[in-house]
Protein backbone atom coordinates (compact mmCIF):
# COMPACT_ATOMS: atom_id res chain seq x y z
CA UNK A 1 0.00 0.00 0.00
CA UNK A 2 1.45 3.31 -0.98
CA UNK A 3 -1.00 5.53 0.90
CA UNK A 4 1.72 7.85 2.01
CA UNK A 5 0.47 11.03 3.64
CA UNK A 6 3.48 12.96 2.39
CA UNK A 7 2.30 15.49 -0.16
CA UNK A 8 4.41 16.10 -3.19
CA UNK A 9 6.61 19.12 -2.83
CA UNK A 10 5.29 20.79 -5.94
CA UNK A 11 1.61 20.92 -4.95
CA UNK A 12 0.97 20.49 -1.25
CA UNK A 13 -2.52 19.18 -0.62
CA UNK A 14 -4.71 19.88 2.37
CA UNK A 15 -7.99 18.50 1.19
CA UNK A 16 -8.33 15.84 -1.43
CA UNK A 17 -11.50 14.44 -2.97
CA UNK A 18 -11.05 11.17 -4.84
CA UNK A 19 -13.88 9.99 -7.05
CA UNK A 20 -16.59 11.22 -4.74
CA UNK A 21 -19.98 9.92 -5.82
CA UNK A 22 -23.47 10.17 -4.45
CA UNK A 23 -26.51 8.52 -5.91
CA UNK A 24 -30.08 9.32 -4.92
CA UNK A 25 -31.97 6.38 -6.41
CA UNK A 26 -31.40 6.65 -10.14
CA UNK A 27 -30.03 10.18 -9.97
CA UNK A 28 -26.30 10.64 -9.67
CA UNK A 29 -26.08 13.95 -7.83
CA UNK A 30 -22.30 13.89 -7.57
CA UNK A 31 -20.49 11.72 -10.09
CA UNK A 32 -16.87 10.67 -9.59
CA UNK A 33 -15.58 14.10 -8.59
CA UNK A 34 -11.89 14.44 -7.79
CA UNK A 35 -9.95 17.55 -6.92
CA UNK A 36 -7.47 18.71 -4.36
CA UNK A 37 -7.21 21.96 -2.48
CA UNK A 38 -3.90 23.45 -1.38
CA UNK A 39 -3.43 25.10 2.02
CA UNK A 40 -4.33 28.77 1.97
CA UNK A 41 -6.19 28.52 -1.30
CA UNK A 42 -9.53 30.12 -2.04
CA UNK A 43 -11.21 27.47 -4.12
CA UNK A 44 -14.42 28.18 -5.99
CA UNK A 45 -17.10 25.67 -6.78
CA UNK A 46 -19.51 26.84 -9.45
CA UNK A 47 -22.09 25.34 -11.72
CA UNK A 48 -25.70 25.74 -12.83
CA UNK A 49 -28.55 25.04 -10.44
CA UNK A 50 -28.80 21.39 -9.53
CA UNK A 51 -25.20 20.70 -10.53
CA UNK A 52 -24.51 19.00 -7.19
CA UNK A 53 -22.47 21.71 -5.47
CA UNK A 54 -24.32 21.65 -2.15
CA UNK A 55 -24.51 17.85 -2.25
CA UNK A 56 -20.72 17.83 -2.59
CA UNK A 57 -20.45 20.06 0.50
CA UNK A 58 -22.79 17.71 2.34
CA UNK A 59 -20.59 14.78 1.38
CA UNK A 60 -17.48 16.63 2.48
CA UNK A 61 -18.95 17.44 5.90
CA UNK A 62 -20.45 13.99 6.45
CA UNK A 63 -24.07 15.19 6.49
CA UNK A 64 -24.78 12.79 3.64
CA UNK A 65 -22.77 9.58 3.32
CA UNK A 66 -20.89 9.17 0.05
CA UNK A 67 -21.96 6.29 -2.17
CA UNK A 68 -18.33 5.85 -3.12
CA UNK A 69 -15.09 7.79 -3.21
CA UNK A 70 -12.88 9.24 -0.54
CA UNK A 71 -12.16 12.53 1.11
CA UNK A 72 -8.79 13.07 2.69
CA UNK A 73 -7.78 15.83 5.05
CA UNK A 74 -4.00 16.07 5.37
CA UNK A 75 -3.86 12.57 3.89
CA UNK A 76 -6.18 10.99 6.48
CA UNK A 77 -9.37 9.39 5.19
CA UNK A 78 -12.33 11.20 6.74
CA UNK A 79 -15.03 9.95 4.35
CA UNK A 80 -17.01 7.83 6.78
CA UNK A 81 -16.77 10.06 9.82
CA UNK A 82 -19.92 11.63 11.34
CA UNK A 83 -20.35 15.39 10.90
CA UNK A 84 -19.24 16.33 14.42
CA UNK A 85 -15.97 14.44 14.03
CA UNK A 86 -15.26 16.12 10.71
CA UNK A 87 -16.06 19.49 12.30
CA UNK A 88 -13.59 18.75 15.10
CA UNK A 89 -10.91 17.86 12.58
CA UNK A 90 -11.19 21.39 11.26
CA UNK A 91 -13.75 21.55 8.46
CA UNK A 92 -16.40 24.16 9.24
CA UNK A 93 -19.23 25.24 6.99
CA UNK A 94 -22.12 27.57 6.42
CA UNK A 95 -25.40 26.54 4.86
CA UNK A 96 -27.05 27.69 1.66
CA UNK A 97 -30.45 27.79 3.35
CA UNK A 98 -29.19 29.37 6.57
CA UNK A 99 -29.35 26.98 9.52
CA UNK A 100 -28.82 29.14 12.55
CA UNK A 101 -30.23 28.24 15.95
CA UNK A 102 -32.89 30.80 15.23
CA UNK A 103 -34.52 31.06 18.66
CA UNK A 104 -31.19 31.71 20.35
CA UNK A 105 -29.17 34.88 20.57
CA UNK A 106 -26.32 35.61 18.20
CA UNK A 107 -23.91 35.17 21.08
CA UNK A 108 -25.33 31.76 21.99
CA UNK A 109 -25.12 30.68 18.36
CA UNK A 110 -21.41 31.37 18.30
CA UNK A 111 -20.75 30.00 21.80
CA UNK A 112 -22.38 26.70 20.84
CA UNK A 113 -19.80 26.21 18.12
CA UNK A 114 -16.99 26.44 20.70
CA UNK A 115 -18.27 23.13 22.01
CA UNK A 116 -15.53 20.88 20.73
CA UNK A 117 -12.78 23.28 21.86
CA UNK A 118 -14.03 23.36 25.46
CA UNK A 119 -14.45 20.56 27.94
CA UNK A 120 -16.53 21.58 30.97
CA UNK A 121 -18.75 18.65 31.90
CA UNK A 122 -22.09 18.45 33.67
CA UNK A 123 -20.75 18.38 37.22
CA UNK A 124 -18.06 21.04 36.95
CA UNK A 125 -20.42 23.29 34.99
CA UNK A 126 -23.38 22.89 37.33
CA UNK A 127 -21.20 23.51 40.38
CA UNK A 128 -19.58 26.49 38.70
CA UNK A 129 -16.06 25.36 39.59
CA UNK A 130 -13.33 27.94 38.94
CA UNK A 131 -11.98 26.15 35.86
CA UNK A 132 -15.50 25.95 34.43
CA UNK A 133 -16.08 29.66 35.06
CA UNK A 134 -12.81 30.57 33.42
CA UNK A 135 -13.63 28.47 30.39
CA UNK A 136 -17.12 29.96 30.17
CA UNK A 137 -15.71 33.48 30.31
CA UNK A 138 -13.13 32.64 27.64
CA UNK A 139 -15.83 31.12 25.42
CA UNK A 140 -17.95 34.24 25.76
CA UNK A 141 -14.97 36.52 25.04
CA UNK A 142 -14.03 34.55 21.95
CA UNK A 143 -17.63 34.55 20.70
CA UNK A 144 -17.85 38.31 21.15
CA UNK A 145 -14.58 38.77 19.25
CA UNK A 146 -15.95 36.78 16.36
CA UNK A 147 -19.23 38.69 16.39
CA UNK A 148 -17.20 41.88 16.34
CA UNK A 149 -15.25 40.59 13.36
CA UNK A 150 -18.45 40.14 11.34
CA UNK A 151 -19.86 43.43 12.62
CA UNK A 152 -22.56 42.04 14.87
CA UNK A 153 -21.06 42.66 18.31
CA UNK A 154 -23.61 45.36 19.13
CA UNK A 155 -26.43 42.89 18.57
CA UNK A 156 -24.95 39.92 20.41
CA UNK A 157 -28.08 39.54 22.55
CA UNK A 158 -30.48 39.75 19.60
CA UNK A 159 -32.36 36.65 18.55
CA UNK A 160 -30.86 35.19 15.37
CA UNK A 161 -34.25 34.92 13.68
CA UNK A 162 -34.72 38.69 13.86
CA UNK A 163 -31.56 39.41 11.90
CA UNK A 164 -31.64 40.59 8.31
CA UNK A 165 -30.71 38.01 5.72
CA UNK A 166 -27.19 39.32 5.12
CA UNK A 167 -26.58 39.55 8.86
CA UNK A 168 -27.71 35.95 9.27
CA UNK A 169 -25.14 34.94 6.67
CA UNK A 170 -22.45 36.84 8.57
CA UNK A 171 -23.55 35.24 11.82
CA UNK A 172 -23.21 31.82 10.21
CA UNK A 173 -19.65 32.70 9.23
CA UNK A 174 -18.86 33.79 12.80
CA UNK A 175 -20.33 30.54 14.07
CA UNK A 176 -18.24 28.49 11.64
CA UNK A 177 -15.10 30.41 12.62
CA UNK A 178 -15.76 29.59 16.27
CA UNK A 179 -14.68 26.02 15.48
CA UNK A 180 -11.14 27.32 14.78
CA UNK A 181 -11.29 25.53 11.44
CA UNK A 182 -8.49 24.94 8.97
CA UNK A 183 -10.95 24.64 6.09
CA UNK A 184 -14.00 26.85 5.75
CA UNK A 185 -16.76 25.83 3.36
CA UNK A 186 -19.01 28.73 2.40
CA UNK A 187 -22.24 27.81 0.63
CA UNK A 188 -23.38 30.82 -1.38
CA UNK A 189 -22.21 33.50 1.03
CA UNK A 190 -23.34 36.31 -1.29
CA UNK A 191 -26.90 35.06 -1.73
CA UNK A 192 -29.35 37.73 -0.68
CA UNK A 193 -26.66 40.36 -0.25
CA UNK A 194 -26.95 43.71 -1.98
CA UNK A 195 -24.26 44.86 -4.46
CA UNK A 196 -22.39 46.80 -1.76
CA UNK A 197 -22.30 43.83 0.56
CA UNK A 198 -21.20 41.60 -2.31
CA UNK A 199 -18.33 43.96 -3.07
CA UNK A 200 -17.23 43.88 0.55
CA UNK A 201 -17.47 40.11 0.66
CA UNK A 202 -14.37 39.59 -1.54
CA UNK A 203 -12.14 41.65 0.70
CA UNK A 204 -13.72 40.13 3.78
CA UNK A 205 -13.12 36.58 2.56
CA UNK A 206 -9.47 37.29 1.75
CA UNK A 207 -9.06 38.95 5.10
CA UNK A 208 -10.50 35.88 6.81
CA UNK A 209 -8.11 33.60 4.99
CA UNK A 210 -5.09 35.68 5.99
CA UNK A 211 -6.15 36.33 9.54
CA UNK A 212 -7.13 32.75 10.40
CA UNK A 213 -4.77 31.03 7.93
CA UNK A 214 -7.77 29.40 6.39
CA UNK A 215 -8.30 27.39 3.30
CA UNK A 216 -11.64 28.40 1.83
CA UNK A 217 -13.90 26.48 -0.50
CA UNK A 218 -16.88 28.47 -1.64
CA UNK A 219 -19.95 27.84 -3.71
CA UNK A 220 -21.14 30.94 -5.46
CA UNK A 221 -23.46 31.88 -8.27
CA UNK A 222 -22.29 35.42 -8.66
CA UNK A 223 -19.69 34.93 -11.39
CA UNK A 224 -17.81 38.26 -11.12
CA UNK A 225 -17.31 37.62 -7.41
CA UNK A 226 -15.94 34.13 -8.00
CA UNK A 227 -13.66 35.21 -10.84
CA UNK A 228 -12.15 38.02 -8.82
CA UNK A 229 -11.78 36.14 -5.57
CA UNK A 230 -10.84 32.53 -6.23
CA UNK A 231 -7.38 31.17 -6.88
CA UNK A 232 -8.81 28.16 -8.65
CA UNK A 233 -12.28 27.16 -9.73
CA UNK A 234 -13.99 23.82 -10.21
CA UNK A 235 -17.07 23.69 -12.40
CA UNK A 236 -19.74 21.09 -11.83
CA UNK A 237 -22.51 20.24 -14.25
CA UNK A 238 -25.02 17.43 -13.72
CA UNK A 239 -22.84 16.11 -10.91
CA UNK A 240 -19.69 15.91 -13.01
CA UNK A 241 -16.56 17.97 -12.81
CA UNK A 242 -16.29 19.58 -16.24
CA UNK A 243 -13.48 22.04 -15.67
CA UNK A 244 -10.85 22.85 -13.08
CA UNK A 245 -8.27 25.60 -13.15
CA UNK A 246 -7.57 29.26 -12.61
CA UNK A 247 -10.40 31.72 -13.32
CA UNK A 248 -9.20 32.81 -16.75
CA UNK A 249 -8.80 29.26 -18.02
CA UNK A 250 -12.14 28.15 -16.69
CA UNK A 251 -13.91 31.19 -18.07
CA UNK A 252 -12.77 30.43 -21.59
CA UNK A 253 -13.35 26.69 -21.39
CA UNK A 254 -15.88 25.68 -24.08
CA UNK A 255 -17.48 23.06 -21.83
CA UNK A 256 -18.13 25.69 -19.17
CA UNK A 257 -19.57 28.15 -21.64
CA UNK A 258 -21.83 25.42 -22.96
CA UNK A 259 -22.97 24.41 -19.47
CA UNK A 260 -23.89 27.98 -18.61
CA UNK A 261 -25.23 29.23 -21.90
CA UNK A 262 -26.29 26.04 -23.62
CA UNK A 263 -24.99 24.84 -26.99
CA UNK A 264 -26.16 25.84 -30.47
Amino acid sequence: MSESAVPTAAAPTLLQAEGMTRRFGGLIAVNNVSFSVAPGEIFGLIGPNGAGKTTLFNLMTGLIPATSGRLRLRGADITRLPPHRIARLGIARTFQNIRLFSNLSALQNVMIARHSLTRTGVVAGALGLPAARREEAATRRRALELLDLVGLADRAAGQARNFAYGDQRRLEIARALALDPTVLLLDEPAAGMNPNEKAELSAFTRDLRDRFRLTIVLIEHHVPLVMGLCDRIAVLNFGQLIALGDPATVQSDPAVIEAYLGSD
Binding site: H84, F101, S116, G121, V122, R155, A157, R175, G192
Partner: protein, 319 residues
Protein backbone atom coordinates in the same frame (compact mmCIF):
# COMPACT_ATOMS: atom_id res chain seq x y z
CA UNK B 1 -51.73 28.23 59.56
CA UNK B 2 -50.47 25.14 61.37
CA UNK B 3 -53.83 23.60 60.62
CA UNK B 4 -53.44 24.35 56.96
CA UNK B 5 -50.11 22.56 56.80
CA UNK B 6 -51.34 19.66 58.90
CA UNK B 7 -54.36 19.19 56.63
CA UNK B 8 -52.47 19.69 53.42
CA UNK B 9 -49.14 18.09 54.26
CA UNK B 10 -49.74 15.23 51.86
CA UNK B 11 -50.76 17.60 49.09
CA UNK B 12 -47.79 19.93 49.55
CA UNK B 13 -45.29 17.08 49.39
CA UNK B 14 -47.17 15.58 46.43
CA UNK B 15 -46.88 18.89 44.60
CA UNK B 16 -43.17 19.05 45.32
CA UNK B 17 -42.60 15.51 44.11
CA UNK B 18 -44.72 16.10 41.00
CA UNK B 19 -42.72 19.23 40.19
CA UNK B 20 -39.44 17.29 40.49
CA UNK B 21 -40.82 14.53 38.31
CA UNK B 22 -41.92 17.10 35.74
CA UNK B 23 -38.31 18.34 35.64
CA UNK B 24 -37.22 14.79 34.83
CA UNK B 25 -39.35 15.03 31.69
CA UNK B 26 -38.07 18.53 30.98
CA UNK B 27 -34.42 17.39 30.90
CA UNK B 28 -34.67 15.29 27.71
CA UNK B 29 -36.96 17.96 26.31
CA UNK B 30 -34.11 20.45 26.65
CA UNK B 31 -32.37 18.42 23.96
CA UNK B 32 -35.59 18.30 21.95
CA UNK B 33 -36.40 14.71 22.87
CA UNK B 34 -40.00 14.00 23.78
CA UNK B 35 -39.48 11.08 26.15
CA UNK B 36 -42.35 9.80 28.28
CA UNK B 37 -40.12 7.28 30.06
CA UNK B 38 -39.99 9.11 33.40
CA UNK B 39 -42.82 7.12 35.04
CA UNK B 40 -40.99 3.89 34.20
CA UNK B 41 -37.85 5.06 35.97
CA UNK B 42 -40.00 6.48 38.77
CA UNK B 43 -41.60 3.05 39.24
CA UNK B 44 -38.22 1.35 39.18
CA UNK B 45 -36.79 3.80 41.74
CA UNK B 46 -39.75 3.13 43.99
CA UNK B 47 -39.28 -0.63 43.81
CA UNK B 48 -35.59 -0.26 44.58
CA UNK B 49 -36.40 1.74 47.72
CA UNK B 50 -39.26 -0.57 48.72
CA UNK B 51 -37.12 -3.68 48.38
CA UNK B 52 -34.05 -2.20 50.07
CA UNK B 53 -36.07 -1.01 53.06
CA UNK B 54 -37.87 -4.32 53.68
CA UNK B 55 -35.72 -4.99 56.73
CA UNK B 56 -33.66 -7.73 55.12
CA UNK B 57 -31.13 -5.45 53.51
CA UNK B 58 -30.61 -2.70 56.04
CA UNK B 59 -31.17 -3.01 59.75
CA UNK B 60 -32.07 -0.12 61.97
CA UNK B 61 -33.25 0.38 65.51
CA UNK B 62 -35.97 2.65 66.73
CA UNK B 63 -39.47 3.49 65.57
CA UNK B 64 -38.62 5.49 62.48
CA UNK B 65 -36.60 4.54 59.46
CA UNK B 66 -33.31 6.48 59.31
CA UNK B 67 -33.32 9.38 56.87
CA UNK B 68 -29.74 8.67 55.69
CA UNK B 69 -30.91 5.28 54.49
CA UNK B 70 -33.66 6.97 52.47
CA UNK B 71 -31.03 9.22 50.92
CA UNK B 72 -28.84 6.19 50.19
CA UNK B 73 -31.77 4.43 48.51
CA UNK B 74 -32.42 7.55 46.44
CA UNK B 75 -28.81 7.64 45.34
CA UNK B 76 -28.82 3.95 44.44
CA UNK B 77 -32.14 4.30 42.61
CA UNK B 78 -30.79 7.29 40.68
CA UNK B 79 -27.68 5.35 39.75
CA UNK B 80 -29.57 2.22 38.69
CA UNK B 81 -31.97 4.28 36.58
CA UNK B 82 -29.05 6.12 34.97
CA UNK B 83 -27.43 2.83 33.98
CA UNK B 84 -30.71 1.50 32.60
CA UNK B 85 -31.29 4.80 30.79
CA UNK B 86 -28.01 4.44 28.91
CA UNK B 87 -28.92 0.88 27.91
CA UNK B 88 -32.43 1.87 26.81
CA UNK B 89 -31.46 5.29 25.48
CA UNK B 90 -28.77 4.33 23.00
CA UNK B 91 -31.13 2.36 20.75
CA UNK B 92 -34.33 4.32 21.58
CA UNK B 93 -32.89 7.76 20.88
CA UNK B 94 -32.30 6.84 17.26
CA UNK B 95 -36.02 7.44 16.95
CA UNK B 96 -37.38 10.91 16.53
CA UNK B 97 -40.42 12.83 17.66
CA UNK B 98 -43.56 10.80 18.09
CA UNK B 99 -41.73 7.51 17.49
CA UNK B 100 -39.47 8.16 20.46
CA UNK B 101 -42.54 9.02 22.54
CA UNK B 102 -44.12 5.70 21.55
CA UNK B 103 -40.96 3.75 22.30
CA UNK B 104 -40.70 5.33 25.74
CA UNK B 105 -44.37 4.54 26.44
CA UNK B 106 -43.54 0.95 25.51
CA UNK B 107 -40.69 1.09 28.03
CA UNK B 108 -43.10 2.25 30.75
CA UNK B 109 -45.43 -0.62 29.85
CA UNK B 110 -42.58 -3.13 29.97
CA UNK B 111 -41.61 -1.95 33.45
CA UNK B 112 -45.24 -2.28 34.55
CA UNK B 113 -45.75 -5.75 33.10
CA UNK B 114 -42.45 -7.01 34.48
CA UNK B 115 -43.25 -5.65 37.93
CA UNK B 116 -46.64 -7.39 37.82
CA UNK B 117 -45.03 -10.71 37.05
CA UNK B 118 -41.89 -11.03 39.10
CA UNK B 119 -41.72 -12.02 42.72
CA UNK B 120 -39.41 -9.36 44.10
CA UNK B 121 -41.92 -6.58 43.37
CA UNK B 122 -44.75 -8.46 45.08
CA UNK B 123 -46.54 -9.11 41.80
CA UNK B 124 -49.97 -7.55 41.44
CA UNK B 125 -50.25 -6.96 45.18
CA UNK B 126 -47.15 -4.84 45.35
CA UNK B 127 -45.13 -4.00 48.42
CA UNK B 128 -46.87 -2.83 51.58
CA UNK B 129 -45.85 -1.13 54.77
CA UNK B 130 -42.77 0.61 53.48
CA UNK B 131 -41.14 2.02 56.63
CA UNK B 132 -41.59 5.68 57.48
CA UNK B 133 -38.63 7.95 58.22
CA UNK B 134 -40.86 10.49 59.97
CA UNK B 135 -43.38 10.05 62.72
CA UNK B 136 -45.79 12.54 61.23
CA UNK B 137 -49.33 11.53 60.24
CA UNK B 138 -49.69 14.58 57.97
CA UNK B 139 -46.56 13.48 56.06
CA UNK B 140 -45.54 17.13 55.80
CA UNK B 141 -42.15 16.17 57.25
CA UNK B 142 -41.27 14.56 53.91
CA UNK B 143 -40.78 18.10 52.71
CA UNK B 144 -37.40 17.96 54.48
CA UNK B 145 -36.25 15.66 51.69
CA UNK B 146 -38.62 16.53 48.84
CA UNK B 147 -38.08 20.29 49.20
CA UNK B 148 -34.27 20.24 48.92
CA UNK B 149 -34.52 17.65 46.11
CA UNK B 150 -36.76 19.97 44.09
CA UNK B 151 -34.56 22.94 44.98
CA UNK B 152 -31.40 21.16 43.88
CA UNK B 153 -33.04 19.89 40.71
CA UNK B 154 -34.20 23.42 39.85
CA UNK B 155 -30.78 24.93 40.52
CA UNK B 156 -29.19 22.14 38.50
CA UNK B 157 -31.46 22.64 35.49
CA UNK B 158 -31.18 26.41 35.70
CA UNK B 159 -27.38 26.15 35.74
CA UNK B 160 -27.45 23.59 32.97
CA UNK B 161 -29.21 26.05 30.68
CA UNK B 162 -26.21 28.39 31.00
CA UNK B 163 -23.31 26.02 30.56
CA UNK B 164 -21.64 24.17 27.72
CA UNK B 165 -23.62 20.93 28.12
CA UNK B 166 -26.95 22.75 28.24
CA UNK B 167 -26.00 24.76 25.17
CA UNK B 168 -25.33 21.51 23.36
CA UNK B 169 -28.81 20.30 24.40
CA UNK B 170 -30.39 23.52 23.15
CA UNK B 171 -28.48 23.37 19.88
CA UNK B 172 -29.77 19.85 19.25
CA UNK B 173 -33.31 20.95 20.06
CA UNK B 174 -33.05 23.90 17.68
CA UNK B 175 -31.42 22.10 14.75
CA UNK B 176 -29.86 18.71 15.23
CA UNK B 177 -28.10 18.68 11.89
CA UNK B 178 -26.54 22.11 12.38
CA UNK B 179 -25.47 21.10 15.90
CA UNK B 180 -23.79 18.03 14.45
CA UNK B 181 -22.00 20.17 11.88
CA UNK B 182 -20.80 22.43 14.72
CA UNK B 183 -18.97 19.58 16.44
CA UNK B 184 -21.68 18.40 18.85
CA UNK B 185 -22.32 14.65 19.01
CA UNK B 186 -26.15 14.56 18.96
CA UNK B 187 -26.50 10.93 20.05
CA UNK B 188 -24.19 11.38 23.01
CA UNK B 189 -25.96 14.45 24.31
CA UNK B 190 -29.43 13.04 23.71
CA UNK B 191 -28.49 10.00 25.77
CA UNK B 192 -27.00 12.26 28.44
CA UNK B 193 -30.19 14.36 28.69
CA UNK B 194 -32.31 11.21 28.80
CA UNK B 195 -30.06 9.71 31.50
CA UNK B 196 -30.14 12.81 33.69
CA UNK B 197 -33.94 12.79 33.51
CA UNK B 198 -34.06 9.07 34.33
CA UNK B 199 -31.79 9.45 37.36
CA UNK B 200 -33.97 12.27 38.70
CA UNK B 201 -37.15 10.25 38.13
CA UNK B 202 -35.59 7.29 39.94
CA UNK B 203 -34.73 9.45 42.95
CA UNK B 204 -38.26 10.84 43.09
CA UNK B 205 -39.62 7.28 42.88
CA UNK B 206 -37.44 6.09 45.77
CA UNK B 207 -38.67 8.91 47.99
CA UNK B 208 -42.27 8.45 46.84
CA UNK B 209 -42.26 4.78 47.83
CA UNK B 210 -41.71 5.78 51.46
CA UNK B 211 -44.06 8.70 51.17
CA UNK B 212 -46.94 6.67 49.70
CA UNK B 213 -46.09 3.77 52.02
CA UNK B 214 -47.00 1.19 49.41
CA UNK B 215 -45.69 0.53 45.92
CA UNK B 216 -47.28 -1.49 43.16
CA UNK B 217 -47.71 -1.67 39.41
CA UNK B 218 -50.17 1.22 39.47
CA UNK B 219 -47.30 3.61 40.19
CA UNK B 220 -45.77 5.08 37.10
CA UNK B 221 -48.08 3.93 34.34
CA UNK B 222 -49.00 5.29 30.94
CA UNK B 223 -51.56 7.56 32.66
CA UNK B 224 -48.72 9.07 34.64
CA UNK B 225 -46.80 9.68 31.41
CA UNK B 226 -49.71 11.67 30.04
CA UNK B 227 -50.18 13.48 33.35
CA UNK B 228 -46.53 14.52 33.33
CA UNK B 229 -46.79 15.65 29.76
CA UNK B 230 -49.76 17.81 30.77
CA UNK B 231 -47.62 19.38 33.54
CA UNK B 232 -45.01 20.37 30.99
CA UNK B 233 -47.45 21.51 28.30
CA UNK B 234 -49.57 23.61 30.65
CA UNK B 235 -46.57 25.02 32.49
CA UNK B 236 -44.50 25.63 29.38
CA UNK B 237 -41.69 23.62 27.85
CA UNK B 238 -39.19 26.38 27.15
CA UNK B 239 -38.25 27.27 30.71
CA UNK B 240 -37.63 24.96 33.65
CA UNK B 241 -40.10 27.01 35.69
CA UNK B 242 -42.89 25.90 33.37
CA UNK B 243 -42.94 22.21 34.33
CA UNK B 244 -42.51 23.08 38.02
CA UNK B 245 -45.43 25.47 38.00
CA UNK B 246 -47.57 23.23 35.79
CA UNK B 247 -47.00 20.24 38.05
CA UNK B 248 -47.83 22.21 41.18
CA UNK B 249 -50.99 23.74 39.77
CA UNK B 250 -52.34 20.56 38.22
CA UNK B 251 -51.53 18.48 41.30
CA UNK B 252 -53.19 20.97 43.61
CA UNK B 253 -56.19 21.63 41.40
CA UNK B 254 -58.39 18.64 42.36
CA UNK B 255 -57.76 19.26 46.04
CA UNK B 256 -58.40 22.99 45.74
CA UNK B 257 -61.66 22.28 43.95
CA UNK B 258 -62.70 19.81 46.63
CA UNK B 259 -61.91 22.17 49.48
CA UNK B 260 -63.59 25.10 47.76
CA UNK B 261 -66.72 23.01 47.31
CA UNK B 262 -66.67 22.24 51.03
CA UNK B 263 -66.41 25.83 52.22
CA UNK B 264 -70.14 26.28 51.83
CA UNK B 265 -71.94 29.37 50.55
CA UNK B 266 -71.95 27.90 47.07
CA UNK B 267 -75.13 26.59 45.48
CA UNK B 268 -75.41 22.92 46.24
CA UNK B 269 -75.24 21.84 42.59
CA UNK B 270 -72.03 23.82 42.02
CA UNK B 271 -70.36 22.36 45.08
CA UNK B 272 -71.40 18.91 43.95
CA UNK B 273 -70.06 19.54 40.48
CA UNK B 274 -66.73 20.80 41.81
CA UNK B 275 -66.37 17.57 43.76
CA UNK B 276 -67.69 15.03 41.30
CA UNK B 277 -66.80 16.83 38.11
CA UNK B 278 -63.19 17.43 39.09
CA UNK B 279 -61.87 15.46 36.14
CA UNK B 280 -64.19 17.34 33.77
CA UNK B 281 -62.92 20.68 35.03
CA UNK B 282 -59.37 19.37 34.80
CA UNK B 283 -59.94 18.31 31.21
CA UNK B 284 -61.57 21.60 30.22
CA UNK B 285 -58.65 23.54 31.69
CA UNK B 286 -56.23 21.41 29.72
CA UNK B 287 -58.10 22.14 26.50
CA UNK B 288 -58.37 25.85 27.25
CA UNK B 289 -54.71 25.94 28.20
CA UNK B 290 -53.54 24.38 24.97
CA UNK B 291 -55.81 26.62 22.90
CA UNK B 292 -55.05 29.95 24.57
CA UNK B 293 -51.56 29.34 25.94
CA UNK B 294 -50.00 27.03 23.36
CA UNK B 295 -46.53 27.81 24.75
CA UNK B 296 -47.65 27.17 28.32
CA UNK B 297 -47.92 29.56 31.26
CA UNK B 298 -44.22 30.34 31.42
CA UNK B 299 -42.49 31.38 28.23
CA UNK B 300 -39.02 32.85 27.73
CA UNK B 301 -40.69 35.98 26.34
CA UNK B 302 -42.10 36.57 29.81
CA UNK B 303 -38.60 37.30 31.05
CA UNK B 304 -37.44 39.19 28.00
CA UNK B 305 -40.19 41.76 27.86
CA UNK B 306 -38.88 43.53 30.92
CA UNK B 307 -35.71 44.48 29.11
CA UNK B 308 -35.89 47.13 26.41
CA UNK B 309 -36.44 45.30 23.17
CA UNK B 310 -33.41 45.34 20.88
CA UNK B 311 -33.65 47.36 17.71
CA UNK B 312 -35.56 45.28 15.23
CA UNK B 313 -33.57 44.23 12.23
CA UNK B 314 -34.53 45.52 8.83
CA UNK B 315 -37.34 43.83 6.96
CA UNK B 316 -36.23 40.35 5.99
CA UNK B 317 -36.40 39.45 2.33
CA UNK B 318 -38.11 36.15 1.73
CA UNK B 319 -35.57 33.40 2.25
Amino acid sequence: MTDFFATNGFLIVSMTLAATLALSLYLPLMAGQLSLASPGFYALGGYIAAVLSDGKHFTWSGQTYPVPLVLLEMALAGLACAVLAVIVGVPALRLRGIYLALATIAFVEIVRVVSLNVEITGGAVGIFGIPQPYDDPSKLAYLWIAGPLLGLAMVFVARLERIRVGRAFTAIREDELAADAMGINPTGYKVLAFTLGAALAGMVGALSAHFINTWNARQGTFDASIGLLAFVLIGGSRSFLGPVLGAMILTALPEVLRQTADTGGLPAWLGQFMKDGRLIIYGVLLVLGTVFLPQGLITPALFQRRRPSPVRAKVEPPA
